[in-house]
């Protein structure tokens, strides 16, 4: 157990491991890299790997402090109700209970939010979703805290919940947030001609259920009251600086009295962008002047974070007889739930990417996100692009069928490429190898797959249903489907997106050490490895360490939007380059030569223009450390104009394609994914092994969304807040993913990198839906695909 009060407790274990291990041979070797062991382009080992395999890595739920209390949250059982009264007297009188707090006890702002401050820290007059926080408790042990939470008596007057987003925005529904008409945002994009017809038209309606990020490490953390009246927060989060701003406001404290250190993060996928227990535990810690730990259970976790927006999509595609797109009309309706979270940005993405990575001269796009009394929705891997990919890819298949064309050929015919124009008018400046990606998955070898027959089945574990013994091959039909998708990397629409890195080159006991300090969250994706690799490559003079992420350095932005390798990687690279420049200045001064032509070689020596060694050890230059902290920005983006949605809103576009091969037991509607082939342009494979892990993991989220993952909300109530009934893929549900990695560098990005985390989650789901359609002939229009849809859909 990690004692956060001890002096070295804030040191995450990876800082003690200075040297890279032997690179592991990747299945798909990357471009040759510069010759620095463990540098950029190698499959350098994760520095946090050893503590993680040993069970020593301190996750946010593993923290401990002397004298700590345990927090618990009282949540609303109703999706929409007026709070008549809250009686905390019994709870307060219980042995071992140290605090019971309600909205009146919030010291500062009573509402918070990432984009709009509209979510109560603790609800006081109205609860707007099932599971909303109403009161918080701190007690000497977790069981007492739970019992005390139960003893808080909240009297509700139930109201009719608004659960249908279409009704919510109809004008007939009461407003959940005054003056909004329950429209959180309506994105309009008008591209080209608006009144245009085409000889071939296909229309379709598609629907996506509410997916959960389902990270394994529950929301949790520890807050220590500071002697200065502030708080020290140890939490698993994606963006500690935005946490800090919100926490400080709600606590009524200046930001410098809210100090956040990243605790070990057990996955994120978007669900840790919004606050969970940060303000609550801080309030309890300040009130009791004791450390407070809060750890959500799995059930509570389903209420503790936002989910992926469910979507209802209407499409109309017009094309020529030859298969050239003439126009696309799209209406996307997203259910944003009770509070704003990042809904406005999700709606922006859903609009901009709604026609897919295709060229189309004319587009009419409306992307609307509504307030309802359903659970709040916000960020999840793929962020708006996932929803619409189901629609645009289904439409391309439908159009291909109508035209009698091969679905891949139709996609290729309309594929976007570098220089294509987005519906927003933005020219795609970076490589856009949509055609090449599609060709790669189409031409990927077909793996040897189990032969399906009524007899001679070797192993039922290879069949749909597996060991559940539901088919021995009866009614099993194979299908193949394709999907391609894209989205932006980094924050869009004029957001000032930057990351900060402080790099220090100093003299350690055994020579020079490069320390990297940033506030970017390592959420499992391997950013900490990438930053070390960059430091090794740019400053190959000694071991590189990455310090714990905290708010003692400037903001790094969120670990989201596939942006951290680009942004924090870029910040580390930039600061390293400045440190290197200073080092060369010092070398020139030290030896007494001109600065021009000096360089730091990969072997750590300083060389002159003739490649002669000027200094073979830089230690002597480091009597004082060299320290540089700089912000790194990508190029500016711009808002979309509100009427026509025009504007250079995006930084960079990332693309991926999938081919899915499935077996479907058409009699029972059970699907087994046999093979996934994917192709992705990553710009630069910074760490091939980690890259493969991102693609495989991202694909698994798409498999889950296609076939099983849905938070079921009925009448505003969540019916399956558990891992028994919210299903995510097991190892028997995930096939091997074969992949083609392309490295078409983006000249504007550090090392040419392209964000890689999200694209695999975008194109995988539509590929599976297409494969199930191919296998069964059923017009699959909704994911997750339920057995009913297959059995009764024909």
């Amino acid at each position: 157990m990690t004692d956060v009060t001890s002096t070295d407790a804030t040191t995450t274990p990876w800082t003690t491991i200075p040297s890279p291990n032997q690179p592991f041979a990747p299945a798909h070797p990357a471009q040759p890299h510069r010759g620095v062991p463990g540098g950029v382009g190698t499959s350098a080992r994760r520095p946090d790997g050893i503590p993680k395999v040993k069970g020593e890595f301190a996750y946010s739920s593993d923290l401990w402090a002397e004298g700590m209390l345990h927090g618990a949250t009282v949540r609303s059982p109703h999706p929409y109700a007026r709070i008549v009264s809250i009686d905390t007297s019994v709870a307060k009188s219980m042995d071992g209970v140290r605090a019971v707090l309600v909205a009146d006890d919030v010291p500062g702002a009573k509402v918070y939010g990432m984009e709009h401050d509209d979510q109560p820290v603790l609800a006081w007059d109205v609860v707007r979703y099932h599971g909303e926080s109403v009161a918080i408790v701190a007690a000497e042990d977790p069981e007492t805290a739970r019992r005390a939470a139960d003893a808080v008596v909240v009297s509700y007057q139930e109201l009719d919940p608004i659960v249908d987003p279409e009704f919510a925005i109809s004008g007939d529904a009461p407003e959940l947030h005054e003056g909004t008409g329950n429209i959180t945002r309506h994105v309009k994009i008008r591209h080209g001609e608006q009144d245009v017809s085409a000889p071939v038209v296909v229309t379709g309606r598609y629907e996506m259920g509410m997916q959960d990020q389902a990270f394994l490490g529950p929301e949790s953390g520890m807050v220590l009251p500071g002697v200065d009246g502030g708080v020290d927060i140890f939490v698993a989060t994606q963006w500690m600086h935005v946490d800090r701003g919100q926490v400080a406001k709600c606590l009524g404290l200046p930001e410098d009295q809210v100090r956040i250190t990243l605790a070990g993060v057990g996955g994120a996928f978007g669900a840790r962008e919004d606050l969970s227990m940060q303000v609550h535990a801080s309030m309890l810690a300040l009130h009791t002047n004791r450390p407070v730990r809060m750890v959500y259970s799995r059930e509570e976790s389903f209420f503790g974070h936002v989910h992926r927006h469910p979507a209802w999509m209407e499409y109309e595609h017009g094309a020529t007889e030859e298969g050239d797109l003439v126009y696309v009309k799209v209406r996307v309706l997203l259910d944003g739930g009770a509070y704003t979270s990042s809904s406005t940005a999700v709606a922006g993405n859903a609009g901009r990417f709604s026609i897919g990575p295709y060229e189309c001269p004319n587009a009419t796009i409306d992307s609307i996100v509504a307030y309802t009394n359903n659970p709040p929705c916000g960020a999840m891997r793929g962020f708006g692009a996932v929803q619409v990919a189901l629609g645009h890819e289904a439409q391309m298949d439908k159009l291909a069928a109508k035209l009698g064309m091969d679905p891949v050929d139709l996609r290729i015919r309309n594929a976007m490429s570098q220089g294509s124009v987005m519906p927003t008018g933005q020219v795609v400046h970076n490589p856009a190898p949509v055609r090449e990606l599609l060709e790669a998955v189409r031409d990927a070898p077909h793996r040897e797959l189990p032969v399906v027959g009524e007899r001679d089945v070797i192993d039922i574990r290879q069949l749909p249903g597996g060991a559940a013994n539901s088919t021995h091959g009866e009614d099993v039909r194979r299908g193949v489907g394709y999907g391609v998708g894209f989205k932006n990397v980094g924050f869009a629409e004029g957001f000032d997106d930057y990351s900060t890195a402080r790099v220090t080159l100093s003299r350690g006991a055994e020579g020079p050490i490069v320390s990297v300090h940033h506030a970017a969250s390592e959420v499992g994706q391997g950013l900490v490895t990438i930053c070390m690799q960059i430091a090794r490559t740019e400053l190959p003079v000694g071991p590189a360490i990455v310090l714990p992420a905290d708010t003692q350095v400037g903001s790094a932005g969120s670990s989201s939007a596939s942006r951290q390798t680009y942004m924090t990687g870029g910040a580390v690279k930039q600061s390293c380059e400045l440190v290197r420049s200073e080092l060369l200045d010092r070398a020139a001064g030290h030896v007494g030569v001109a600065r021009a032509g000096l360089r730091l070689a990969d072997d750590g020596t300083i060389r002159n223009a003739a490649d002669g060694i000027l200094l073979d050890d830089v230690t002597e230059l480091l009597s004082t450390p060299i320290e540089i902290e700089r912000e790194f920005r990508h190029r500016e983006t711009f808002p979309m104009d509100p009427e026509r949605g025009q504007g250079d809103a995006d930084v960079q576009f990332a693309f991926a394609a999938h081919r899915a091969v499935v077996d479907v037991d058409a009699g029972l509607g059970i699907v087994r994914v046999l093979d996934m082939a994917t192709a992705q342009d990553v710009g630069k494979a910074m760490n091939p092994q980690q890259l493969e892990g991102q693609i495989e993991g991202g694909t698994s989220h798409g498999v889950g969304l296609a076939l099983m993952e849905e938070i079921q909300v009925v009448g505003g109530k969540v019916r399956n807040p558990s891992f028994t009934d919210y299903l995510i893929p097991t190892v028997l549900d995930m096939p091997t993913v074969q992949m083609t990695i392309m490295e078409l560098g983006d000249p504007e990005a550090p090392y040419g990198v392209r964000g890689v985390g999200e694209p695999p989650s975008i194109s995988s789901t539509p590929a599976i839906a297409a494969a199930v359609r191919d296998a069964t002939g059923v017009a699959i229009t909704r994911v997750p695909i339920r057995p009913d849809d297959i059995v009764f859909g024909a």
């Binding site: 739970r146 259970s297 799995r298 059930e299 749909p464 249903g465 597996g466 060991a467 559940a468 013994n469 539901s470 088919t471 021995h472 009866e474 009614d475 009699g667 029972l668 509607g669 059970i670 087994r672 076939l707 099983m708 079921q712 019916r719 399956n720 558990s722 028994t724 009934d725 299903l727 893929p729 097991t730 190892v731 028997l732 549900d733 339920r786 057995p787 009913d788 059995v791 009764f792």
Partner: protein, 295 residues
Amino acid sequence: MDFLQPTSLSEALAMKAERPDATPIQGGTDLMVDINFDRARPSATIDLNRVPELMDIEHVGSDVWVGAGVPYLRIMRELQSDAPGLCMAARTVGSPQIRARGTLGGNLGTASPAGDTLPLLVAIGATAEVASSERGRREIPVRNFIIRPRHSALESDELIVRVRVPKARGPQQFGKVGQRNAMVISIASFGLAFDLDQRAVGTGIGSAGPVILDAPEANAHVAEVFSTEGLWDSAAPLPDGVAKRFGELVGQAASPIDDVRGTARYRRHALSVLAARSLKWAWNEHRETTKGTRA
């Protein structure tokens, strides 16, 4: 919460008699979930892990008596030939970790219509032997063990001691449908057992009613067709339409509802499909075996 830990059956029964409010715990795979999720706070638990009488597997004549505390993993290892269908069902319970701990006693005691082993136990006509310190032992057919979801025929002073599993007298099958390829609670499940001695068929239906159901009309239909067509003796292929009709009758016997895992309509359909397939598999297996014996 008290924690009671008897080391013999008589001690356990005495405790249960004294503390009828206490909840027995064996593998903990259901009860601990309720405690962890704060859905249950029993005033006491009685840990039955150390009651040796509950850990026995005894072969007595045509029956195997399986102790209520025998984990699925052991059933799968030891009862492949005597109770193949039970082993198939046990294999579908949760995960390897769950199978290492979960027991027939727990599956019965939890009294969920989704209990994976229960349809097969119903299909083979298994009985649960329960005991109280005061009234001694009695047998309850598994078919009647669940009264309604989460409520069993067990009296408050009784414990489940063992399950009488009639040794297989013909081919058996168990299958279930879930939306994931492993570790899933069934949307519907079905157990089938042929009794070649009695020339009968037994069925059990899970997750499609408030209790585990059987399908007597389906059973009777198969028995009748087999008698008429002489299949019991000839082991000839299934006549056309028998499996389909059997499936329909099984579907009709179900009493499903819509819930978070599936719809009533789908459940009924899935049971028809599963039952028809199971009948074919079982009969084909019998025919293969018979052929083998004759050769």
